[in-house]
């Protein structure tokens, strides 16, 4: 997880070294963009050619290229098309308009965050119970693992329908799906974390005849913090996936998932790509935030940075 550049003390930071270290990433990303443009040209060329042919217009190669970069309904939109669509759909409309992508992002993000909070708390509590009760570990843990083999997204429509039937709509059912998806990594990670202290340290607690609650608060909990943040990073993405997918089966009116769905109905390729990029940005920001909190906590707990 730790990147060697991050582990270096700040004093040694040199711009040239930084560039040298990251050159491979830039290269790969640059190659990806080139491939993307190439793909946009190759995949969109037939439809542009057809359009020219239909209108019986003679065209040059550069006109063909220009056409593939500007296609209304491209098979593969060019990167700049996606960027323009993103800009237009965020700044082109008022914030509360259903045509504004930021509005949809907010709808999905709120469900993600609520679901993530519920899932994380539930996962932590479950892990604490499992660590302390042998019967639960034996009976429940296998089912928790099995529950993840079930493609839980299949249950999503049911949850929406059941909650809808008792009058709960909107954010909460989506959050439940997110929570249901994301409690698992937290529970598993925390079971690992809470059982991570050395036997020696546990024995030490025993010599002081500390009770279970004290062992939990003074030893198990602090020891599990790195595990907690590692699992939170995994589950926040899963939570976002849950929120997006929860919007699909019910034909939700708002949210990233709704954007994907309507884009796919009306063949708005560029809209789909923009929504995808938007989802990627949300995931990145959420992970970066958790990372930052993890770093702060680690420093607070005396970790060498």
């Amino acid at each position: 997880m730790t990147n060697s550049a991050v582990a270096l003390p700040r004093a040694n930071w040199r711009p040239t070294a930084w560039v040298g270290e990251h050159a491979p990433i830039f290269t790969v990303v640059a190659v990806l963009f080139v491939v993307w443009y190439l793909a946009a040209f190759l995949m969109n060329a037939p439809q542009v050619r057809d359009a020219f042919a239909r209108n019986e217009v003679k065209y040059t190669f550069s006109e063909l290229v220009a056409g593939t970069m500007e296609a209304k309904r491209p098979v593969v939109p060019a990167p700049h098309q996606v960027a323009i669509e993103l800009y237009d759909s965020i700044f082109g409309y008022p914030l509360n308009s259903p045509r504004n992508l930021a509005y949809h992002a907010w709808v999905t993000l709120s469900a993600t965050v609520v679901g993530f909070a519920i899932g994380a708390i539930f996962g932590i509590l479950l892990a604490i119970l499992i660590v302390h009760l042998r019967t639960l570990e034996k009976s429940l843990l296998p089912w928790i693992i099995c529950s993840q083999m079930v493609p839980i997204l299949a249950i999503a429509p049911i949850i929406i329908v059941v909650f809808g039937a008792i009058g709960i709509r909107g954010l909460f059912p989506k959050s439940i799906i997110s929570a249901y998806l994301c409690f698992f990594p937290v529970a598993i990670g925390m079971v690992k974390g809470l059982t991570s202290p050395d036997p020696i340290q546990l024995d030490l607690m025993r010599t002081w005849s500390a009770n279970k609650l004290q062992v939990l608060r003074k030893l198990r909990w602090p020891a599990s913090i790195p595990f907690l943040f590692a699992s939170l990073k995994v589950s926040v993405t899963i939570s976002l996936v849950g929120a997006i997918v929860a919007e699909l089966p019910t034909g939700a009116q708002a949210g990233i998932g709704a954007r994907l769905l309507s884009g796919s109905y009306y063949g708005q390729t560029v809209q789909i790509w923009a929504a995808l990029v938007c989802a990627a940005v949300i995931a990145t920001v959420l992970i970066a935030m958790i990372d930052a909190i993890a770093k702060l906590t680690a420093r607070h707990m005396g970790a060498a940075t």
Binding site: N3, E21, A23, P24, I25, T27, V28, V29, V75, R134, T135, K138, S139, L140, L141, P142, W143, C146, Q148, M149, V150, P151, I152, L153, A154, I155, P157, I158, V161, V162, A165, I166, K233, V234, T237, L240, V241, I244, V245, L248, P249, I256, L260, L261, G263, S264, G267, T269, I272, W273, A275, L276, A279, A280, A283, T284, I287
Partner: protein, 373 residues
């Protein structure tokens, strides 16, 4: 839980069953227990078994389990009476609660049993989650039917099972479409290319240093979102689903394989060098075996991702078959028993898939410290 507390618990469970006899079974005019001799005997036997289970010997675990089984049987039989199903009252729910308490205590006993040999330990560790699962289904059944929950909201497990048995051909068709065609194909393509790219990237440091952070980044993105694009590119049939699955599987495999190939220590690598081993030999004899736990980790992660990817992709269009498609139309039709049957199918397929991968992992990486006993 102390043995004393357990004993008291069992007595409470036994007393609960007997007290329930005196309470009304239903809010409707239903026949009392006195007119159901068979059930009455079984219930008293269950109470007696719970009482015996309070006895502090390993044998008493059996009494606890017998009492639970008898109690479950009685409560389920009672639901056949239309005057009770949907109108269950205090007496009935007290019985269920007492059985629940007995079940918790019996499973605690079972978990605490010391097993001398491997086979008994294995049996014990397998039976606890199984009994737990069966009991969960029992609770679901009595709750739904006892309260008379509308089947539109939540069907009882028995009606789901009935529906499952009746729709085997449809389910088989959906299984073929979603699991065999979309999931397996996509899984094989995604894992295979991820593995090959990782091995190539491992040979070229520049490529590795570029791909690894990118792979880590993409692994953390909601990749399922590409489903509508893939449906546009590859059409409604299984090819588009396989494409989604392949892309989802690619990055975890790439990242894990790269991490695994790097795990061999400098000493092990020096050893190969001292033998004058060729790069291919080092790869085959050292790096790949050492990477196996990581590769299987990716295979396991991907086995769950693959099903999710295929089902989600089906929400964006299918040729009128497939698990995801069936779920979305049956939800619209409010026939939730069929939805649950599909979910059960997906769950069994998912668990079997994961189980096979886990078994293969055990066979291949049995040397790994996590399997040491």
């Amino acid at each position: 839980m102390s043995a004393r507390l357990q004993a008291i618990g069992f007595w409470v469970a036994a007393a609960g069953l007997l007290v329930a006899l005196a309470l009304p079974l239903s809010s409707q005019a239903a026949a009392a227990f006195t007119s159901r001799t068979g059930l009455l005997v079984a219930l008293v036997a269950a109470a007696a078994a719970f009482a015996l289970a309070s006895w502090r010997t390993p044998v008493s675990t059996v009494f606890g389990l017998v009492g639970t089984a008898l109690g479950c049987a009685v409560t389920v039989m009672l639901l056949q009476d239309p005057a009770i199903a949907g109108y269950a009252s205090w007496g009935y729910w007290l019985m269920v609660l007492a059985i629940w308490l007995g079940a918790i205590l019996a499973s605690t006993r079972l978990a605490d049993l010391s097993a001398a040999d491997q086979v008994t330990r294995w049996l014990r560790d397998l039976s606890i989650p199984l009994l737990f699962g069966v009991f969960l289904i029992y609770l679901w059944e009595v709750t739904v039917r006892g309260f008379g929950v509308s089947p539109v909201l939540m069907p009882a497990p028995t009606s789901t099972a009935l529906r499952l048995a009746q729709s085997l051909p449809t389910l088989g068709e959906d299984f073929m479409q979603t699991f065999v065609r979309s999931v397996l194909a996509g899984y094989a393509i995604g894992c295979g290319t991820g593995f090959i790219v990782a091995v190539v990237a491992y040979r070229y440091d520049f490529l590795k240093r570029g791909l690894l952070p990118l792979g880590n980044f993409v692994s953390a993105l909601p990749v399922v979102g590409i489903a509508p694009i893939m449906v546009m590119w590859f059409g409604f049939d299984w090819q588009s689903k396989a494409a989604v699955v392949a892309v989802m599987c690619f990055f975890p495999m790439l990242v894990n394989t790269l991490a695994g190939l790097a795990v061999a220590g400098p000493m092990e690598r020096d050893l190969m060098r001292s033998y004058g081993a060729r790069p291919l030999q080092t790869l085959l004899k050292l790096n790949l075996p050492a990477a196996m736990p990581f590769i299987f980790n990716a295979l396991k992660i991907n086995s769950t991702l693959a099903l999710i990817g295929a089902i989600v992709a089906e929400f964006f269009g299918t040729p009128l078959r497939g698990i995801g498609f069936r779920i979305s139309i049956e939800v619209a039709r409010m026939s939730l028993d069929m939805v649950w049957a599909e979910i059960a199918l997906a769950a069994v397929a998912g668990m079997a898939f994961y189980g096979i991968v886990a078994l293969a992992e055990r066979a291949v990486t049995s040397w790994h410290p996590s399997y040491r006993k």
